[in-house]
């Protein structure tokens, strides 16, 4: 549809074929896509604690440059976001320094140690939108069950990084041909699938909403697909790197191919794309994980897990999913905006009259050369340096304010 969008103050005021308002500031988006602001359910902003890797301000700037208007930040900061004081700190820092919406995710257990429940209710009052012990998944099924039951009082989704650490046991890459070839310790797909299965059973029993973070295996996807068909409240996200790269990328021993869950087999990537196409996948999330270059410059097995993704996600999605004809533009917007809004019950991801004016404007055909030196993020750890991708962000508007405009950059 071709139309004009009128924004008044922080709201969408009208969407009509021809709007004329005297004195209005005009953003000419002829030939561009005007979409509800993109939402990333899974980022690590490192503040408080590791401001050398990223801050709320730089992470938000990276988000804006990537077309995102809202990011949800994981609680694995130092200290862990496991109480309302830390939550309030993040919310206030975001208000003072962030150019996009930053919504905190609280820990499930104190210090994410998997034992005692964190003060979920108080964090909810302070502004968390979900709970997760991302990276340190709750190993005790009884604790997880109670967390799900408890979270229901606040209608909070429970986000799980599904990894049975007994199975992954110090692994660094996907277990399979490449771990064998390269002599690197493998992480079996079972590590993810055992926990996905557990979570689905617990969600079914409790009636709670469980959201599977960065789903990466064919079998896990099939489990989610089946659970959904049985009406269980389970949703899932996938990352751009898991639908773009296979574990063959590890062959160079470049530590920017090391993340958790690891890059999986070609069959897994194929299955993930199938899930993106058929609707099983609810959201694309980046798992933006900034690390200092010094830390990534270690031996492969010693380097930390994780890559950044905010500034490449939209281009990778357009290039690999839309331009290949796998999904429509509408589905792409669903995966990056309306879908994630639904998963976390956010009143965002809409261009309807009266909605908050979070808008992402992007060009389907601009040629994007991925150049990490130009990133807004403090970190540079991406495996996509040098990639040439078709399509990318042009401008980002948060609550009626233009926070990113690529024209002003050049």
């Amino acid at each position: 549809m071709q139309a004009d969008v009128l924004i008044q103050d922080d709201r969408i005021a009208a969407v009509l074929p021809d709007i004329y308002v005297e004195d209005a500031v005009i953003f000419d988006a002829t030939g561009l896509v005007v979409a509800p602001g993109l939402i990333d359910l899974h980022v690590h902003l490192r503040e408080p604690g590791r401001e050398d890797k990223e801050t709320i301000a730089t992470g938000a700037a990276a988000a804006a440059a990537g077309g995102f208007t809202t990011v949800c930040c994981m609680p694995n900061t130092q200290p862990v976001n496991d109480n309302a004081t830390v939550t309030r700190y993040i919310v206030e820092r975001a208000r003072d320094s962030a150019i996009v919406n930053v919504l905190p995710i609280g820990a499930i257990t104190r210090e994410s140690k998997g034992e005692q429940l964190a003060e979920i209710g108080e964090m909810y009052q302070a502004g968390i939108v979900a709970i997760s012990d991302d990276g340190h998944p709750v190993p005790n099924a009884m604790v997880m069950r109670r967390a799900m039951q408890y979270a229901m009082s606040f209608n909070l989704p429970v986000v799980d990084h599904c990894e049975c650490k007994h199975i992954s046991a110090g692994g660094v890459v996907n277990e399979g041909f490449y771990s064998t070839l390269l002599g690197l310790k493998g992480i079996s797909h079972l590590a993810e699938e055992l926990d996905v299965q557990r979570d689905i059973l617990l969600a079914e029993a409790t009636g709670a909403h469980v959201h599977i973070a960065h789903l990466s295996t064919a079998r896990a996807l099939q489990m989610v697909r089946e659970a959904k068909s049985r009406g269980i409240r389970v949703t899932c996200e996938v990352t751009p790197h898991h639908f773009t790269l296979t574990d063959a990328a590890v062959e160079t021993f470049d530590t920017n191919t090391k993340m958790n869950p690891p890059l999986r087999s070609a069959a897994d990537v194929e299955a993930i794309i199938e899930g993106i196409v058929d609707g099983t996948v609810d959201a694309i999330a980046t798992d933006h994980a900034p690390h200092h270059a010094d830390e990534k410059a270690l031996e492969y097995d010693k380097a930390p897990f994780g890559i950044i993704g905010l500034e490449t996600a939209l281009s990778l999605s357009l290039d690999r999913l839309y331009h290949t004809g796998k999904i429509s533009l509408l589905r792409l917007v669903e995966l990056l905006s309306t879908g994630p809004a639904r998963v976390f019950n956010l009143k965002r991801g809409s261009l309807e009259v009266g909605a908050i004016a979070d808008v992402s404007i992007f060009d389907l055909n601009k040629v994007v050369r991925v150049d990490p030196t130009k990133f807004r993020s403090k970190s540079r750890n991406t495996p996509f340096a040098g990639y040439v991708l078709r399509g990318g962000p042009v401008a980002t508007i948060v609550a009626g304010r233009v926070v990113y405009n690529c024209k002003e950059e050049e």
Binding site: F177, T180, L181, L182, L184, K185, F253, E299
Partner: protein, 340 residues
């Protein structure tokens, strides 16, 4: 050889492997002489950078470099200290600034030689064993030993037995043997057999068969390569006890009878006697473990020489010239070299 580094067998062509083996055969002569030195690499510097304890391999590289008249420096680094501030990249840049001609590196982390080779653009990097990834000179010396006794590697049936999962020796040998046309049976407890190992032989003349029954692997084998049970590498969590390992997977005289009559037994060392192999086997007539050590020096001489710009024919010539000079000199010659 038009190659800056020797990072693994996987990257080598059949031709390159054969060139190294032929050159090593020429250099083997040097070690049999009184004056065990040729001037070939005079003025060159070789750094042995070892992040993991090793007597055999480090000494072997050092002797190889010295017999070629290169200057050698040994650096042993406790891995615990490197992560305190200095990264791998810092270490590499510092070493490269000293302008060595080659760095021989052993490291417990897979891939470090590759990372090092990317940073050190003007220095040859030689992998002396990285994690569970590759140990190319070990596979080359094994091949030289096999070739000596079996004339050719093509068509041989080779059994590799033990902890395949954690073994860089197994990986390098699997690459080399299947490239040169041998069929390899790998055997061990399933817990120590890595997934999809058979695919390493994809599009190679030799094939890989995987079995958890040692007898099946040994049956009519031409060569048996035993792997060390790496006690320090948590291998013990993969089977109940060393006693049980020895009884089900160890090579003893009885199992050896299943092999061909002219079977040879090789082992990268150090040997755990009574665990992966019984003493009477490793000390017996089929065992070539000490010959392997001798061949190790020759192979490493060949690798150093070829990477630093030498070619096969010159090597043969130089060795012969040096031999003639020695004979012409005043020293008595007791070498068995046949310098025809």
């Amino acid at each position: 050889m038009r190659r800056k580094d020797l990072l693994g067998i996987r990257e080598l062509t059949v031709e390159e492997i054969e060139t190294i083996l032929d050159t090593a055969e020429a250099f083997r002569e040097v070690s049999r002489r009184n004056i065990k030195k040729v001037p070939t690499l005079r003025g060159r510097t070789v750094i042995n950078l070892f992040f993991e304890s090793s007597t055999r391999t480090r000494t072997s590289f050092e002797i190889a470099a010295k017999r070629l008249s290169a200057d050698t420096i040994n650096i042993s680094v406790a891995t615990s200290s490197i992560n305190k501030g200095e990264t791998l990249i810092d270490t590499a840049r510092n070493l490269e600034a000293m302008v060595p001609d080659a760095i021989v590196i052993r490291h417990p982390s897979s891939g470090v030689p590759h990372q090092l080779a990317r940073i050190c653009r003007n220095t040859s990097v030689i992998n002396a064993g990285d994690g569970a990834h590759e140990h190319p000179t070990q596979a080359l010396l094994d091949a030289l030993t096999i070739r000596e006794h079996k004339r050719t590697i093509r068509g041989l049936e080779v059994a590799i037995i033990g902890d395949i999962a954690h073994s860089r020796v197994a990986r390098s040998n699997l690459h080399l043997l299947t490239k040169l046309g041998a069929n390899v049976r790998v055997a061990g407890p399933r817990t120590l057999l890595p997934p999809e190992i058979g695919r390493l032989a994809e599009s190679r003349p030799g094939k890989i068969v995987v079995t958890s029954f040692v007898e099946e692997a040994i049956e009519a084998a031409d060569v048996i390569l035993l792997l060390r049970v790496q006690l320090e590498r948590e291998a013990s969590a993969h089977f109940p006890s060393l006693r049980e390992y020895a009884s089900f997977y160890g090579l003893n005289a009885k199992r050896l009878q299943l092999a061909r009559k002219d079977v040879i037994v090789i082992h990268p060392g150090p040997v755990n006697r009574g665990i992966e192999v019984a003493s009477d086997v490793i000390d017996g007539p089929y065992s070539l473990v000490y010959e392997q050590v001798t061949n190790g020096v020759a192979v490493r001489m060949a690798v150093l020489y070829l990477l630093m710009g030498g070619n096969k024919l010159d090597a043969v010539k130089e060795v012969h010239e040096a031999t003639h000079q020695e004979r012409a000199g005043s020293r008595p010659v007791t070498t068995t070299t046949d310098a025809s």
